[in-house]
């Protein structure tokens, strides 16, 4: 439809009078330090990739050569066996109940912790310790927390709630804070200029901006808490994840497939809820 030369032709007219009075133009100089840093960064990254290729024993071809094995394995999952559906449903409800409390508690904690871990809101001498604390909450294995709480409150769902709570707080606080760091600073300045306090700046300037992301994170963690098997298995709280785990380990693949379908349905529902909620605040 349009071609470059034609356009260029028009353009030199559009920008008028080349040469003549116009002083000579120069492209902005490249930021040398930045280019070098980023070059080094990429170089390092590729070195790490190559080094990891060895360590991870990458043999991509195998995937195609033995694709038959995979389809044979996968065939074992069909047809799914929904025979035990009342158990599945019951276990699903248990997991949801545990995940609801584990997630709600951690969202409540992650809001202040996340805001205090954001460099554009809190001073560094609060941000740094808070981030390290959250790093620890994520890094310490859920199993340790699970056992810690078992000795206090005994086996059962409540220990699971507590273990999920700590771990999820660590993750959500990180995600929350990094959403806060990416906001547009102008509305916050607008609030600040009215003489509002720090907390008010956050409530009226920051939170409306990050709300859609926070909702998305919270529901993502809720969903993964529903799926979680490890913690709930350790504390003997049961739940769908544990049932799934048992089925797989017992090689009951038809039942496994059924449970997976239930989990997929749940995740889908949560994803749709997340979409809807975010749309309401977007």
């Amino acid at each position: 439809m349009t071609d470059i030369t034609q356009h260029n032709g028009r353009q030199s007219g559009q920008f008028g009078t080349p040469g003549g009075e116009s002083k000579s133009l120069e492209l902005p100089p490249r930021d040398l330090k930045r280019s070098v840093t980023s070059l080094l960064g990429w170089g390092l990254f590729f070195l790490v990739l190559m080094w990891s290729w060895e360590g991870a024993e990458m043999r991509p071809l195998d995937l195609f050569i033995y694709a038959g094995n995979m389809s044979e394995f996968a065939a074992g999952f069909f047809p799914p066996d929904f025979h035990e559906w009342p158990t599945f449903l019951e276990q699903m409800l248990i997991t949801v109940q545990i995940a609801v409390w584990g997630t709600v508690l951690s969202v409540i904690c992650a809001i202040p912790c996340g805001v205090l871990s954001a460099e554009n809101v809190a001073p560094w001498w609060i941000v740094q310790p808070m981030r390290r604390l959250m790093d620890a909450a994520r890094a310490i294995n859920e199993m340790v927390f699970a056992m810690l709480f078992v000795v206090a409150v005994g086996l059962g769902p409540f220990a699971g709630v507590l273990a999920l709570w700590i771990h999820t707080t660590g993750i959500l606080a990180k995600l929350f804070s990094e959403a806060v760091e990416a906001i547009d600073p102008r509305p916050v300045e607008g609030i600040r200029a009215t003489g509002a306090g720090k907390v008010q700046e956050v409530i009226f300037g920051v939170i409306p901006q990050v709300m859609p992301l926070w909702i998305s994170y919270s529901l993502y963690r809720f969903e993964s808490n529903v799926r979680s098997a490890t913690v709930l298995g350790i504390v003997g709280a049961g739940g769908i994840g544990v049932v799934l785990w048992e089925y797989i380990r017992g090689f009951y693949y038809a039942e496994t497939a059924a449970v997976i379908i239930i989990i997929i349905a749940t995740v889908t529902v949560l994803d749709l809820i997340s979409q809807r909620l975010r749309k309401m605040v977007l």
């Binding site: 439809m1 349009t2 071609d3 470059i4 356009h7 260029n8 028009r10 353009q11 007219g13 559009q14 920008f15 008028g16 080349p18 116009s22 133009l25 120069e26 492209l27 902005p28 100089p29 930021d31």
Partner: protein, 288 residues
């Protein structure tokens, strides 16, 4: 040759609020038209609709004929009855838009923002990979020089001053080398000299290259000076369409003043537009 822009019975409703009501408008090729109207009268909405960035209402309630809500630019359909045309992309490359809120990409440099104007007319793969030639970059620099911004080429868009951002948006539209230019208050944040340069530039590409220009303006003086024709909107309807010279102070008073809440209009209006000859009229004495 046909008209550059043809709008037929176009309406646009946001929830309950009708921003445009049965607007029809034809702009011929090579015209330079000013779009005026009070704040909220629908100027930006009209420009966004013409450029196909927003869709009109499904059925222009007020129109009888079947062509309700039809927009054509350069003879090709943009949208019809709330339905965007499929090949709108090719058409967009031929329509330059200067946005009221600049719409720059904050995290990219000024030069990159401007050079992106070329995306519509280079091979897709090259644009996608961001491989702009030196020549294209120099064209962008030239566009920046036109608006007096070449020395800021390396700066991030978000750190530019208000007027600098506005000029960057203008440079990007110039870079595009479009056949139709829709400019939404391009000189709002500019000082008089920058504003004059921008308007002169637009007048020149209109005159010399035959580019069709629609420019929304708040400062009626500029409309009168640079645009032979003016279209005035009030509450989403076209209330005037004719030569700019025929605009009378009393019409302007009515245009800006009658917009429901805009309250009474006094002599100062024409004063503000037509210049203040008598600074002695200052309402308050200096306290210093």
């Amino acid at each position: 040759m046909g008209s550059a822009i043809k709008v037929d019975g176009l309406s646009k409703t946001f929830r309950k609020h009708r921003a445009l009501n049965n607007v029809s408008l034809t702009v011929d090729r090579g015209e330079m038209v000013a779009l005026i109207g009070a704040s909220g009268s629908g100027k930006s909405t009209l420009i966004r609709l013409i450029s196909g960035l927003e869709r009109g209402d499904k059925t222009g309630a007020a129109s009888q004929a079947g062509n309700s809500g039809r927009i054509q630019v350069l003879g090709s359909p943009v949208q019809d009855g709330g339905q965007l045309n499929r090949s709108i992309r090719n058409l967009r490359a031929r329509i330059g838009v200067i946005f009221q809120q600049f719409n720059l990409v904050n995290r990219l440099s000024l030069l990159t923002n401007v050079v992106l104007g070329v995306l519509g007319r280079i091979p897709a793969w090259r644009g996608t990979l961001g491989l702009f030639t030196r020549e294209e970059k120099m064209l962008a620099m030239e566009a920046l020089r036109r608006v007096g911004m070449d020395q800021y080429a390396g700066q991030r868009a978000s750190t530019l001053s208000g007027g600098q951002q506005q000029r960057a948006a203008i440079a990007r539209a110039l870079m595009q080398g479009a056949e139709v230019l829709l400019a939404d208050e391009p000189i709002a944040s500019l000082d008089p000299e920058s504003a004059r340069r921008v308007m002169e530039n637009m007048a020149r590409i209109n005159r010399e290259d035959g580019i069709t220009i629609v420019v929304s303006l708040h400062q009626v003086a500029y409309a009168m000076r640079y645009c032979p024709r003016t279209v005035a909107l009030r509450a989403g309807e076209v209330v005037y369409d004719g030569p700019s010279e025929a605009l009378t102070p009393s019409f302007l008073r009515e245009l800006y003043g009658a917009d429901s809440e805009e309250l009474v209009m006094d002599e100062t209006l024409s004063g503000a537009i037509h210049g203040v000859e008598a600074p002695q009229q200052m309402p308050i004495a200096a306290t210093a």
